[in-house]
Symmetry: C2
Subunit: 414 residues, 2 copies
DNA sequence: AATCTTATGTATATTATCATACATAAGTAT
DNA sequence: ATACTTATGTATGATAATATACATAAGATT
């Protein structure tokens, strides 16, 4: 019996998630690679890829790759087929942006942020700003795919909330994801800023490195780890909290956490600023310290160098414990360059076993202030395109496409 | 057209690997759970499971699970359907065993081991002992499925060799896997003993814990980590090497690694034995120390307690870095019980952030000397039954089954 | 004992996927 | 230009897997 849509080419997006995931994850850049990587037959891959191309989510680039015979066409996620909303809550400002799927910034805003305003008011503010950004992005970039938030405190990623007493009083245990999902019906992620900077650095510069450590040395200190190619969060999301590892000594300085001798109290921006103030300079933040370093003030140079060695002490502990193949130093004090690096390298090479340092690189970060913002976008994209979720993402494009072809609907009516 | 085997029930093992993997991994214990966990249709699951049951690899147990209606039959890997050969190379002896798939020991031997004999001679010795063990196991337990080795040194798991200068001179970079595979045509794994003890402890007692740290305090010191439910090895397999983290002080003792102030030189078995010797006791190894502790010698009690605090210092660093939810203390000195634990707990709770210690348990290990041996078996089994490898494992049972049914062969001849 | 619930097997028609083969495309090497 | 290589699409019949529906099983509940 002939059906109404007989002869209609097959373009369901059913099952195309696997293909999409391979393209998004960089595991397959061409049809030939998709064939090999997916294990599916040529027919199936062709069919699903056509559906993805028709949906607009995937596009064929102009680029080709040499193969010995006919060059292969390079496929890519169509960056303009959707957009994300991301926000980085800093200690004084909130940086918000709409991003395409590159991810690249489409539009951005900055809001003032007061630690005093609780999560309720702040999330409402963010929601309003998101609405404005979305209105603009929606016209050019179609679907709104998700939200990702960066916070300057420990975050329990699974539960989506701030954990532990922190610089954000009142946020502890507040259900951020729930609040945002109630207003925006999209996936929502919340993560700590240092972890997001780690993700950004890993994705952009060292995608092939499986085990790396990112250390942020700014006014405060923190670190993030990539273990086995994935961000390692620990049981409560508190992994990488190296700022409060203690080294006891007679002159152990008091830390802002209330203990004595923490690394942070010896080598973070605020500690160096404290020491510079004691020597008559005006300094409070990491930026003040770096300003003095750039003016080549001997005291600042000396203190930064010493901080490098102190940080090197902790890092050498971390190296012994997790055995990374790469360490990236970021944050404001990383602008001190070799002044900071040399001390770190000195201690790590001195303290760790040759085995652990044999193939270890220690480099400076190149990502800027916006590392956390982009990291938030990468985190979200990774999840949207993950095999487990990609099919759900496609459903939206699928139903939309059906709506967009009234001809197909008419064809079914006799 | 009628085929020769028409009407013959379908029992290919093709594709049954996924099912097998779910059963072996504990993700599905019954047909109903297999249906849900695999996402396959009832027909397909029934068919593949029948093939697995026919192959003998999976069996139906007597146990049932209540379900509200008809109770569900519990399925399990048939422990007697194959066997493994494992060996634990210690500093003076090699402990070898044939194990079933429980894993449980079927037969075992011990060989004397001299560090002086190189890898060539030792592996030949091991091979000979394996041959003897295999002959026995083969009669009762069918297929020989793989080899797994435990070594008391850092091991590069991927490459299957000892790395770095260690207690085993001459083994550095020697291709252990290659050598054994040339003699036995089965999968071969090599891993560090502490990592294997970690795996054993995790599998047996804490399978639900995703992030844990295992610390072995014996004559020497080492640790293993489970991160995200899997063993974490680091870039060169050297992760967890916490014995040589340094604490500098005026009286920093010289470590056997050549540096000053390593934890090991302060708190491992040999260090306590050294201090006891200086006080007139006869002690060399961790066992000697524990003997004196069990005789309630005040000096031994005091030194063990102090060692606990020192080890607590390092552990608190590890906790800050990887944020585990469980710490297990093993090795000979763990027999010191609370004497050891209290110092560790004291320092960890004093030094770490409340967030990290809120849900942290610190307990003593219960696995014995044979932890590494069983860990080796678990490691191998995990890999044999992993989704990616399970199909390959089945091929052997499949072809064997065809051989075993001459009736089926006859049926094809007209 | 009758009923309810969930587990489990199987027949049927339908659908999805595959292997194979062939045809064409688009470069490089000669 | 011609041959060679690999990429890519599609037709075809074969195979695998699915949904659906029904039948039976085996314990708990009433």
């Amino acid at each position: 019996m002939a059906r109404a849509d007989e002869g209609h080419e097959k373009t369901t997006l059913d099952g195309a998630g696997g293909i999409l995931s391979l393209i998004a994850g960089g595991e397959a850049a061409s049809r030939a690679e998709l064939l090999a990587a997916s294990g599916l037959s040529r027919v199936t891959v062709t069919q699903r890829l056509n559906a993805l191309l028709a949906s607009g989510l995937v596009r064929e680039t102009e680029k080709t790759l040499p193969s010995g015979g006919r060059p292969t066409r390079v496929l890519a996620i169509n960056a303009a087929s959707g957009f994300l909303l991301v926000a980085n809550i800093g200690e004084t400002h909130i940086h918000l942006a709409a991003m395409d799927l590159t991810p690249a910034i489409l539009a951005q805003t900055t809001l003032p942020f007061s630690v005093a305003s609780g999560p309720e008011a702040t999330l409402t503010q963010i929601g309003d700003a998101f609405d404005a950004l979305a209105a603009e992005a929606e016209r050019t970039h179609g679907f709104f795919l998700g939200i990702s938030l960066s916070l300057p405190t420990p975050v329990d990623f699974k539960r989506g909330c701030v954990v532990g007493p922190s610089v954000l009083p009142g946020w502890d245990e507040f259900d951020i994801i729930g609040r945002l999902k109630a207003r925006f019906d999209v996936p929502v992620y919340v993560e700590n800023d240092v972890n997001l900077m780690t993700i950004c650095e890993h994705k952009r510069r060292f995608p092939a490195v499986d085990d790396m450590l990112f250390v942020k040395v700014g006014t405060g200190m923190g670190s993030g780890m990539i273990a086995g190619g994935r961000l390692f969060r620990g049981a409560q999301g508190a992994a990488g909290d190296i700022g409060h590892i203690q080294f006891l000594s007679d002159d152990a300085p008091l830390c802002r956490c209330g203990k004595f001798g923490c690394v942070e109290a010896r080598a973070a921006g605020w500690a160096i600023a404290r020491d510079l103030s004691a020597r008559g300079f005006r300094a409070e933040t990491a930026r003040d310290v770096i300003d003095l370093v750039e003016q080549r003030k001997p005291e600042a140079l000396m203190l930064l160098r010493a901080a490098g060695r102190t940080i090197g002490e902790v890092i050498s502990d971390v190296v012994s414990i997790i055995n990374p193949s790469l360490i990236v130093i970021g944050g404001t004090l990383a602008r001190g360059g070799d002044l900071m690096l040399s001390g770190i390298r000195e201690l790590v090479y001195q303290r760790c076993l040759p085995l652990a340092t044999r193939d270890l690189s220690i480099v400076l970060s190149t990502v800027r202030e916006d590392g956390a913002l982009f990291g938030a976008a990468y985190l979200l994209l990774d999840d949207l395109f993950a095999p487990a979720r990609a099919d759900r993402l496609l459903e939206r494009y699928d139903t939309a496409r059906h709506r967009q072809t009234p001809a197909a609907v008419r064809r079914q009516a006799p």
